[in-house]
Amino acid sequence: MNRDRKTTLALAVITVGFAALAVAFVRVPPRPGVIALPPLVSPQDLAIVPGTVRVSAAQLVSSGGDTSGLACYTCHHQDSPPVIQFDSQHHIILPKEHADLIFSMRNCAECHPPSDPVKLEYADDGSLVMPEAHRGLLAIAHGRNFRNENCYNCHDRNQLDQLHTPEGAKLSFDQATLLCAGCHGPNYRDWQAGIHGRTSGYWDRQAGPINRQQCTSCHDPHAPAFTGIIPMPAPHYLHPLPAHAARPESPAL
């Protein structure tokens, strides 16, 4: 073998080597085998729950929902009335089964038949005396100065499951928003414009409906002001903060 051939051979080997490197570079490493397609998660399962904090009687009636919960006698028997227990403060002890019961979902007429209207008692200073049976069960806290604690300001005297406006117009439970509007004009104006209260659905009315809430969907009419709620967790730091900087002055953004 002469020198030229050797050189050619060496160059060929080097060329092949580089070609192999090039192939190794371009070749994508083997992917994991074909994965069986997992079932699609329905986007609805992850959709944000646009529910409200409570279900009002008005909502239930107007949506044609199950109103059987409004009647006490679906569980209790008329012959054997439930024994009501009071604590040492004469507050009624709510059974565990009723822990999630919202007062507004009760049917007043079950206890107060229209034939026997409730007589309100007033203390010497003119304030309403809360009936013992309602203590601890129903907080009448309507109005910052408790000025609206008379049941018959809103409820019809002879038919407690009906409402009436100060002018005397009769309203059913699912028209409660109109009753609220009688006093809370600015809020009703904003609500009509879509500014007050929770909304969900579609901003584009052509694409779909917008879900609006009635007043009593969020506010308990007997105690409309909200108490505080527990905040969701704060952002976590990657590293624990030193003790002296636990509450930094500037926001860690």
Binding site: F25, R31, V41, W203, P251, L253
Partner: protein
């Protein structure tokens, strides 16, 4: 050995090669080749993280609809490989005659942070490390709107606390956005409907935009995001909530996958107090039009001239 002058010129050089110089050259070449191979070895792992197609992908605005289809299918494959779930990745286009505006009622906000966590769930944000688009500031009720006085880590038993008000801050989708101006590769831009978007495949992660944003609205993926499979939202959009890569910026995009089909963003739907309002400012009957016409409106850091599309307002 002198070169033979009778040989053709092309052979003269090789004829001048001695055994020693050849061996030396061959050794040097093989060492060099080995070094190159060793140096390129990490690139062989490249396929696990990127592909030739991704590397050669064109700029978002230059993609034809057919090319976009290929890109979306590739991203679906990537997500399936990484998270074990097959998503729907779509490229939602802006609607005609729509400009989005956001309004937030500072009188009503109680600082419950439900919006923060709804946003995380909707937009496939990294759970570890935590990435959140919305920061809720607990501000002293002394008439200031200085963000530096806010506290993001408040954790009382119950909110709202007396003496404070709560101001959630997120991307303001400015009409004059400093973040877009500083981007050296135009990976972030304003869409015709007012949404400032980020192309996660085009971002180089220089974080200039994060520094430029006066509202601290941009987040950087220092690591690859980690999201449990069961928490993945499979309704994804290219410019929106598809999983991000390590080393790219992200931020609020008004839930592009919801708002461009007419729905409300997740934070609006979840707000229990109804403080958050969203809509089309070009529609005179929309909620946001009513707010801007009838309410007292605050623009955060108005003096900077960023012209945000995000307004705070008060009930009067």
């Amino acid at each position: 050995m002198p070169p033979d002058p009778n040989l053709p010129p092309s052979d003269r050089a090789s004829a001048g090669m001695t055994r020693r110089s050849f061996l030396r050259g061959a050794a040097a070449l093989s060492v060099g080749a080995a070094a190159i191979a060793a140096g390129l070895a990490p690139l062989r792992q490249l396929g696990k993280f990127t592909s030739v197609n991704e590397f050669l992908q064109k700029y978002y605005k230059e993609l034809t609809p057919e090319e976009m289809k290929v890109v979306l299918a590739r991203i679906e494959d990537e997500v399936q490989r990484q998270y074990g779930i097959r998503p729907h990745v779509r490229d939602y286009k802006p609607m005609n005659g729509v400009e989005f505006v956001y309004a937030l009622n500072l009188t009503r906000c109680v600082g419950c942070r439900k919006c923060v966590h709804a946003c995380v769930a909707e937009n496939n944000q990294s759970r570890n490390p935590e990435i959140q688009y919305i920061r809720v500031l607990q501000m002293p009720n002394d008439g200031t709107f200085d963000m530096d006085k806010g506290d993001t880590n408040y954790a009382p038993k119950s909110v709202p606390q007396p003496g404070f008000f709560y101001m959630p801050v997120q991307c303001h989708h400015c009409k004059n956005p400093p973040c877009v101006k500083v981007c050296p590769v135009k990976a972030t831009w304003q869409e015709p409907d007012g949404i400032t978007v980020v192309d996660y495949n085009w971002c180089i992660g220089c974080r200039y935009c994060e520094a430029a944003c006066p509202y601290f609205a941009r987040r950087f993926n220092f690591t690859a995001p980690s999201i449990p499979t069961e928490l993945i939202n499979p309704n994804m959009s290219y410019l929106g909530n598809r999983p991000r890569y390590k080393g790219v910026m992200e931020k609020c995009h008004f839930c592009i996958q919801r708002t461009r089909v007419g729905r409300y963003p997740a934070c609006v739907e979840v707000c229990p107090t109804g403080s958050r309002k969203f809509g089309n400012i070009l529609d005179p009957n929309s909620e946001v039009s009513y707010i801007l016409k009838n309410k007292r409106v605050l623009i955060l850091k108005e003096e900077l001239g960023t012209l945000p599309r995000f307004f705070y307002y008060f009930d009067i």
